[in-house]
């Protein structure tokens, strides 16, 4: 960990303004950022603590949805009565993530911005375009068993590991932000995470110093909410593949985790009925390695299982 300066901001605008230099980072729960700093994968010169901005509430919106403060802890969000009743897919996805200790610290904003778990990204002796642009990608041709098969590039095949974001994608959540100049905007979750392309180091469409203030959920869809996370052990493991499903009258929304550097959702596929047809549309254009090709079959079969349960 490199030495850094620390500042506790009192308001969102102050926090954003304090983070306008490129060496600054917000710190929320710290469950991801601190690990990365210890390994010197991240070396911020200035930390802006956003834990005291009053962004820790979940409130109803005038449109009948919910506004989730960026600092609401994963544990609290998963346990919220309204979330459990109306957005079950989100509650389930959160509870499938990490461990209870981590969820107690992890925040809504931090979860969206957690970085990939690609093991080469964490090892500073290894080439990695995401960590060090232009150095190459050690994962291509290496240990790629749990890396992405959709939306990958020659530069990077990392996944985004969040479970929460996958559920939010089925709900068409919207991310609200404020920038260092004090301007606010709303970013649909579909446009929030970027695919790697030639710039895997750019992971979201946030600008430097832009602070997430909330995530807004539109009004409830009703129906059945499922989150199925397939993993190598029963708990405390990242998804090999996950499926978030909201199925109601005339509604079939499906998003997938473990496949790409964003929650993977192909709206066109949702018009299909047969799981095989849906999977085919969802996985169109997949690019696999020898080690992660199993994800094709796994996605299709997991989807079959989920739809069976959702439609039962």
């Amino acid at each position: 960990m490199r030495p850094f300066t620390y500042q506790r901001a009192a308001t969102p605008a102050e926090a954003a303004a304090a983070a306008r230099t490129s060496g600054a980072r917000f710190i929320a729960g710290g469950t991801n950022l601190l690990d990365l700093m210890k390994q010197q994968v991240e070396t911020p010169s200035h930390l802006v603590d956003v834990n005291h901005l009053g962004l820790d509430r979940i409130e109803p919106t005038s449109e009948g949805g919910l506004r989730i403060g960026a600092l609401v802890r994963n544990t609290d969000l998963a346990a919220d009565q309204r979330v459990r009743r109306d957005y079950g897919v989100l509650s389930r996805a959160l509870l499938a993530g990490a461990s209870s200790q981590l969820r107690n610290k992890a925040t809504t904003g931090g979860n969206l911005l957690q970085r990939t778990r690609c093991p080469y990204f964490y090892d500073t002796s290894m080439p990695c375009n995401k960590r060090k642009p232009g150095s190459g990608c050690a994962a291509i041709g290496g240990f790629s068993r749990n890396l992405a098969i959709m939306g990958v590039s020659e530069a990077c095949i990392a996944t985004h590991p969040s479970d929460m974001a996958v559920a939010m994608r089925t709900l068409d959540a919207v991310v609200e932000t404020i920038d260092p100049a004090g301007a606010t905007r709303s970013i649909p979750i579909a446009e929030f995470h970027r695919l790697p392309g030639n710039t895997p180091q750019l992971e979201t469409n946030l600008k430097v110093g832009e602070l997430i203030t909330a995530v807004v959920l539109p009004k409830p869809l009703g129906g059945k909410h499922l989150y199925r996370k397939v993993r190598d052990r029963s708990s405390y493991a990242f998804a090999n593949v996950s499926v978030a499903a909201v199925v109601a009258d005339g509604i079939q929304r499906l998003a997938f985790g473990g496949l790409a550097h964003q929650p993977w959702r192909v709206e066109r596929a949702e018009r299909e009925t047969r799981p095989e047809a849906i999977a085919e549309a969802v996985l169109a254009g997949a690019r696999t390695t020898k080690q992660n090709a199993y994800k094709l079959r796994l996605t299709q079969r997991t989807l079959t299982s989920v739809l069976q349960e959702a439609r039962a």
Binding site: M1, K38, S125, D232, S235, R297, L298, R301, S305
Partner: protein, 733 residues
């Protein structure tokens, strides 16, 4: 020190009373542990002031040479006291074991090998400065892929890499039923909770090491040999160890570098390996390729059995002796085993829990399941008809001391409801779960090692035990106290136990499951000695003695121990010295594991539903701590079957998944209620305690029971461990 020679089978002795031994006494160190009062290596404070912190810089390549190493920036960083590299490291002695000596030259032998040591005022400063050491290398091509290096493997220079009885080739060729299968097991990491950790402090030319170590006297020997100082000048303290599983049998880089750093800095130094360093910088269990051939008659009686093993290691290092159990487990006239070793450039391989058997049985016991299916036989019956009560390589002249494999299998089958197993795979469903049952036999060689202790009867009649023995979470404190309490007729709370200090009598240490039996036998020997001294002092001559309620009785008289202890107490040293009973009798503990799994029919995820182990391991000194050992072993066995694997990047030559988020061991949710049953057994050839090793028996054969259950559930046989979903998925309907 009085030697107690154990050359003939044990007769009746005070341990047989089993008033205290054999009872499920709570750990006497439990309250200290749960209240944070039990000091582990890094916790010591008393007498250690002005401490500095060390951090190891590991090599960023696996093979090659350091061209340039620039430490200026690191040295100039805040708080840094010194940076040591091969350029300024003091001269050290020759290679000892594992990772001693350190920083000996510019050659890189494996990834994350220490190339520099940074000492600073704080841990954070040391870690930060470690990243400022600038190194340029000339990398060299390395050998990282066992499947390829197998072709270059040679017969290793070891005791007994090969065995052969009868004529295997002919016997196998002539056998009416033949099985020829090859299994692989991956590299595995110990990943004990407490990392390798040391505090080193010099006073003049005397060194004290508080270190996390299983074998105190080996540590002394290797530290002294490395630093080229007399053994008397080294003191090692290892009173509590947060798990070792073999990783701490020998000293690792932490001990050597803490000692070197402390001497150079002129201050005590604290140094622990970071979690990622445990996998690559320290030792691991090497991967294996195992070919098993078994030939039987149509009734399933084994005629020929062969087990060949290939593993790799750094030059001059050991094999993974995965065929050793095949020498003893089943009958058969024509037999062979062999081990071949390939020189590789992966990190150093060495003992991990039940070295040999743990992975050997993953292959052998799965092969037995395949054989049973071939023969259309029940897998339990196949094992039973191939039981043998003597060493099948040496013949009836070398009988087993005790062997209750058949009883374990039968008892387990009954308790588990084995008769409900559908022999046809893929038939049982529970919702989306495909359900199956599997069995695996367990065998673990019983090893013993001479072990000493000092037992002191203190004024007021309490007793103190002192021995170098360690407690690596196993329960040594408790069973040693139980032994003395039994021998001297005292309640448990009158016995105090101190362990892990090299100033105490040398002991067996903790390793190879020899610890419990050997070290309690050492305390037994010391207590025998003390009993004689007490008798003498009480004027009982050679009379029959009874120790009860803090008194000694003989010839119609009772004398209290407190009064005999006087002001100065009575101290007795004793050492158990094992003779050749181990050679004359085959000695091993046995067991059988029964497992039920569910495999998700869509995703191939496996979840354990039930797991039962039945074990016969001589006298069970404390059923609670022994059970605890088995539970740990079973959990590790599940891990070996389902998830544990150090993933090798064969281009860069290292284990990629080097943290606990990526190197998967079972979590609570993976482990259902486990059940352990001990069969009653006394082994009078093992020691006066009549006990045998149990710690490693718990892991032996478990993974195969899981694998066999997966096959029974799905009809898919995977021969490459671990059995992860991707391997099953391809072949699931």
């Amino acid at each position: 020190m009085t030697d107690y020679h154990f050359d003939t089978p044990a007769g009746p002795n005070p341990i047989d009373q089993q008033k205290i031994i054999g009872h499920p006494h709570d750990r006497i160190d439990g309250p200290r542990k749960v209240s944070g009062q039990a000091p582990y290596a890094q916790d010591y404070r008393d007498g250690i002031s002005n401490i500095a912190y060390g951090f190891i810089v590991g090599a960023g390549i696996a093979t090659g040479r350091i061209d340039r190493i620039d430490t200026r920036e690191a040295e100039a960083a805040p708080g840094v006291l010194l940076v040591m590299t091969h350029l300024n490291a003091p001269k050290q002695g020759p290679h000892q074991h594992d990772l001693a000596p350190q920083l000996t030259g510019p050659e890189i032998h494996f990834y994350d090998e220490a190339v520099a040591l940074v000492i600073a005022d704080t841990f954070e400063q040391a870690r930060d400065a470690a990243k400022l050491v600038r190194i340029s290398y000339t990398p060299k091509k390395g050998r990282f892929d066992l499947a390829q290096e197998r072709l270059n493997a040679v017969k290793p220079d070891e005791d007994e890499p090969d065995t052969s009885t009868g004529d295997f080739a002919q016997g196998f060729a002539a056998a009416p039923v033949q099985l020829d299968v090859t299994y692989t097991t991956p590299d595995q990491s110990h990943m004990m909770m407490e990392p390798h950790a040391t505090i080193a402090k010099w006073e003049g030319d005397r060194l004290t090491l508080w270190t996390s170590n299983q074998m105190v006297h080996w540590a002394i020997r290797d530290v002294a040999g490395t630093l080229m100082i007399p053994e008397e000048n080294v003191r090692v303290l290892s009173a509590f160890v947060g798990g070792g599983f073999g990783a701490k049998l020998w000293i690792q880089s932490d001990a050597v570098l803490a000692a070197l750093g402390a001497r150079a800095a002129g201050r005590p130094v604290k140094l622990a390996l970071a979690r990622p360093q445990i996998m690559n910088n320290a030792t691991h269990r090497p991967a294996t390729i195992q070919r098993i051939r078994i030939g039987t008659d149509p009734q399933g009686r084994i005629l020929a059995i062969g087990h060949e093993v290939w593993s790799g290691n750094q030059p001059g290092r050991k094999i993974e002796n995965a065929a050793q159990q095949t020498r003893l487990l089943y009958a058969g006239k024509d037999r062979m085993t062999s081990h071949r070793l390939a020189v590789m450039d992966l990190p150093v391989g060495n003992s991990m829990r039940a070295p040999g058997e743990a992975v050997g049985l993953l292959a052998l016991e799965a092969a037995m399941d395949e054989l049973a299916e071939k023969l259309n036989m029940d897998p339990v019956e196949l094992r039973i008809i191939n039981d043998v009560q003597f060493d099948p390589e040496k013949g009836p002249s070398r009988p087993f001391s005790t062997r209750k494999l058949v009883e374990c299998l039968r008892h387990g089958a009954r308790e588990f409801g084995w008769s409900k197993r559908n022999p046809k795979p893929g038939q049982v469903r529970d919702g989306n779960w495909l359900v199956g049952m599997g069995v695996g036999s367990a065998i673990r060689n019983n090893l013993s090692k001479n072990s000493g202790a000092r037992v002191t009867l203190r004024p007021h009649g309490s007793v103190l035990i002192e021995t170098q023995m360690t407690d690596i979470g196993t329960g040594s404190y408790t069973i040693l106290a139980q032994t003395a309490a039994e021998m001297l007729g005292l309640p448990m709370d009158r016995v105090e136990v101190r362990l892990g200090d090299s100033r105490f009598p040398e002991s067996a240490g903790s390793g190879g499951s020899w610890g419990a039996n050997s070290s309690t036998a050492g305390v037994f020997a010391a207590c025998e000695q003390l009993r004689q001294q007490i008798a003498q002092k009480a004027g009982f001559g050679g009379a029959e003695l009874t120790f009860r309620g803090g008194q000694v009785h003989a010839q119609g008289r009772s004398v209290s121990l407190a009064s005999l202890a006087g002001k100065n107490g009575i101290a007795a040293d004793g050492t158990i010295v094992f003779g050749d009973l181990e050679k004359r009798y085959a000695q091993a503990s046995f067991g059988a594991h029964f497992c039920e799994v569910g495999v998700d029919r869509y995703t191939g995820e496996t979840r354990i539903r039930r797991l039962l182990s039945v074990a016969a391991a001589g006298r069970i000194l404390n059923p609670k701590t022994a059970r605890n050992q088995c539970l740990g072993g079973m959990t590790m066995g599940v891990g070996a079957a389902l998830m544990e694997e150090c993933v090798v990047d064969t281009r860069f030559g290292y284990f990629v998944n080097h943290d606990l988020a990526e190197y998967h061991v079972p979590v609570h949710a993976d482990i259902p209620d486990l059940e352990v049953i001990f069969l009653e057994e006394l082994d009078d050839k093992s020691s006066p305690m009549k006990a045998k090793g149990v710690g490693e028996l718990g892991i032996c054969g478990v993974g195969a029971a899981v694998a066999n259950a997966i096959y029974n559930a799905t009809g898919v046989r995977v021969r490459d461990y671990p059995l992860t979903m991707d391997k099953l998925l391809e072949r699931l309907a």
